[in-house]
């Protein structure tokens, strides 16, 4: 059978030069990739290994499970993950359709929309924290002026506090994921929608038969990745509620730090290790998707 020679003029990249010269290029390749490899070994591999080693005492886990705060944290984390992430991604999907509309005011809005992501967490989260202050925060002041009654002590009710932490997280990370999904939407050829219009499709049908099939992979990948990163969102909870009231809104991310500050390093690592069963399946799915 005749073979098609992959001429280098076509997209595929040819292997580097002939013979001995290849070694020279490989040598430099290794030299140039070395700095990162060193960084990885020293600051990722070693800490991870060391952390796992610190978490080796079974007694840590016993103490961990005895701590009621721990279970509360796990549940909070799960709620955070399931509710916040899905809500966020669905809104991002909706907004990705919104922002591709051509309007002058939408363009301006898209510039403003990026702010939560571009701005640092501390000022903005603290700003919200102050808005929620029961005595002098803006929200309660407005409620008082409108109804004469005192507004609730927002951050003192664990469910409300956790809810606001989730809202804060969504506020901060929504722009990033919306951008990603917008890129996904823009990759869909315009002609497909035009053909569908001619065929008489409604907006919902266009979404179901054109948009969603094209975006599905990106959406799910983003969802999984977002879950992994949200597990590590320290700022939203810590800066808003501090884990309170009474350590009731801790998530696993803040719990680890809490133990650290109490000088209970092994408990801290144990908490993180226990979180692994949450993380690893997600990582597994991610690797599978990325290798496709």
């Amino acid at each position: 059978m005749t073979t098609t020679v992959a001429s280098a003029n076509v997209a595929a990249a040819p292997p580097p030069a002939a013979g001995r010269t290849r070694d020279r290029w490989q040598f430099w390749g290794r030299m140039l990739v070395l700095p990162y490899v060193l960084v990885f070994l020293v600051f990722v591999l070693y800490p991870v290994g060391y952390g796992l080693w610190l978490a080796r005492h079974p007694s840590s886990y016993v103490r961990l499970f005895d701590d009621p705060i721990f279970f509360r944290s796990v549940i909070n984390t799960l709620i955070f993950l399931i509710v916040a992430i899905n809500l966020k991604m669905m809104v991002a999907l909706l907004l990705s359709g919104f922002f591709v509309q051509q309007r002058w005011w939408i363009k301006i809005l898209s510039l403003i929309f990026i702010l939560p992501w571009a701005l640092p967490s501390i000022p903005t989260i603290l700003s919200v924290r102050f808005m929620l202050n029961p005595e002098w925060g803006v929200i309660n002041s407005v409620i008082f002026r409108l109804s004469g009654a005192d507004g609730p002590n927002w951050l003192n009710h664990p469910p409300l506090a956790l809810g606001f932490a989730m809202l804060m997280h969504i506020w901060k990370s929504l722009p990033f994921w919306t951008l990603i999904l917008i890129a996904g939407r823009l990759a869909i050829p315009h002609e497909q929608y035009e053909a569908a219009s001619v065929d008489g499709a409604t907006t919902w049908q266009k979404f179901r038969f054109i948009t969603w099939p094209s975006m599905r992979t990106l959406y799910v990948t983003s969802l999984i990745l977002s879950m992994i990163w949200t597990l590590g969102d320290f700022n939203s909870v810590y800066l808003l509620t501090g884990g309170g009231p009474a350590d009731l809104t801790h998530v696993l991310a803040t719990l680890g730090i809490r133990y650290l500050r109490l000088d209970e390093v092994d408990l801290s690592m144990a908490a993180i290790v226990v979180a692994l069963p949450l993380v690893l399946p997600l990582v597994y799915f991610m690797m599978k998707r990325l290798s496709k």
Binding site: P120, P123, G242
Partner: protein
């Protein structure tokens, strides 16, 4: 037909207006607080009766003990952010070039390992990182934070740069090789100039990441004079009667550079950073 157009606009506005409010309120509130004098900051009005820049003056003159080291800390933030951006650029560009253009053996593996870093939630990596830095004797040295942030920023930067590199035509490398270029000459004279937009995007990303970082700075730098402005802001929370309006003013100062930089380099950011998201 007109009624349909109106309905569409109405639907869009129905999304747009709440979105605008949702986005801007925390930011506006921050701004509001910063320009309000102490007493009326907490009044709950939409615009202060007596807007003032007094708070900023107090911050700049360090007239409160929380702000003793404001300038030093601001400088630290700048220094660390720039260092992180520079070092990350250096490391990531070299690695991306080696993996994408030189096709170094094991390049794919290195890339996968790098991305693996992101599969460890940052807060989880923080604790072992803290202990590790202690072991290395780097705690309270700014290098600890710089290197930690470089570690966290690099994988994404390498990924983005590699995707962008793959788009450069292969004939350029071949032509350069035929012209007699050594690997380093290829890197310096052909590759780097053509990668400038991506480099800007990636450098800005690393800069902002380092500037905005709280947790790692908080853990790794406890000394008031060596820590960043972010941590200093967090310290305000330790007391109940802290001068909140000063905090917000400082916060606003702290928040301005990233916003400015992002908007200045917006052109590079969006294209560069989402390049890896969609593989055509």
């Amino acid at each position: 037909m007109r009624w349909k157009a109106v309905a569409t606009e109405a639907k869009l506005l129905l999304i747009g207006i709440p979105l605008f409010l949702w986005t801007i309120i925390p930011v506006y509130h921050l701004f509001l607080f910063a320009i309000s004098p102490r007493d009326s900051a907490t009044s709950g009005k939409l615009w202060p009766d007596h807007p003032t820049l007094q708070n900023f003056a107090i911050v700049f003159q360090r007239k409160h003990f929380y702000l003793d080291h404001f300038w030093v800390q601001l400088w630290n933030s700048v220094l660390i952010a720039v260092a992180v951006a520079a070092i990350t650029l250096l490391i990531a560009t070299s690695a991306a070039f080696a993996i994408s253009r030189l096709k170094v053996r094991g390049g794919r593996t290195v890339l996968n390992l790098a991305l693996f870093t992101y599969f460890i939630p940052a807060a989880f990596l923080a604790v072992p990182m803290y202990k590790t830095m202690g072991n290395y004797g780097l705690l309270n040295s700014q290098w600890a934070l710089i290197l930690a942030m470089v570690t966290i920023a690099s994988p994404y930067c390498i990924w983005v740069l590699k995707q962008a590199s793959d788009k450069l035509p292969w004939e350029l490398d071949e032509a350069a090789r035929m012209d007699g270029a050594s690997p380093l000459q290829l890197f310096r004279l052909v590759y780097l100039p053509l990668m400038v937009p991506s480099l800007v995007a990636v450098g800005t990303y690393a800069l902002l990441l380092a500037w905005n970082e709280y947790l790692y700075a908080f853990l790794l730098l406890s000394n008031d004079t060596s820590t960043t402005l972010a941590v200093a802001l967090g310290n305000f929370l330790s007391a109940d009667d802290s001068p909140w309006e000063l905090l917000m003013a400082t916060g606003l100062i702290y928040a301005l550079p990233p916003a400015a930089i992002y908007y200045a380099f917006k052109r590079y950011m969006v294209g560069g950073l989402t390049a890896g998201a969609v593989k055509s």
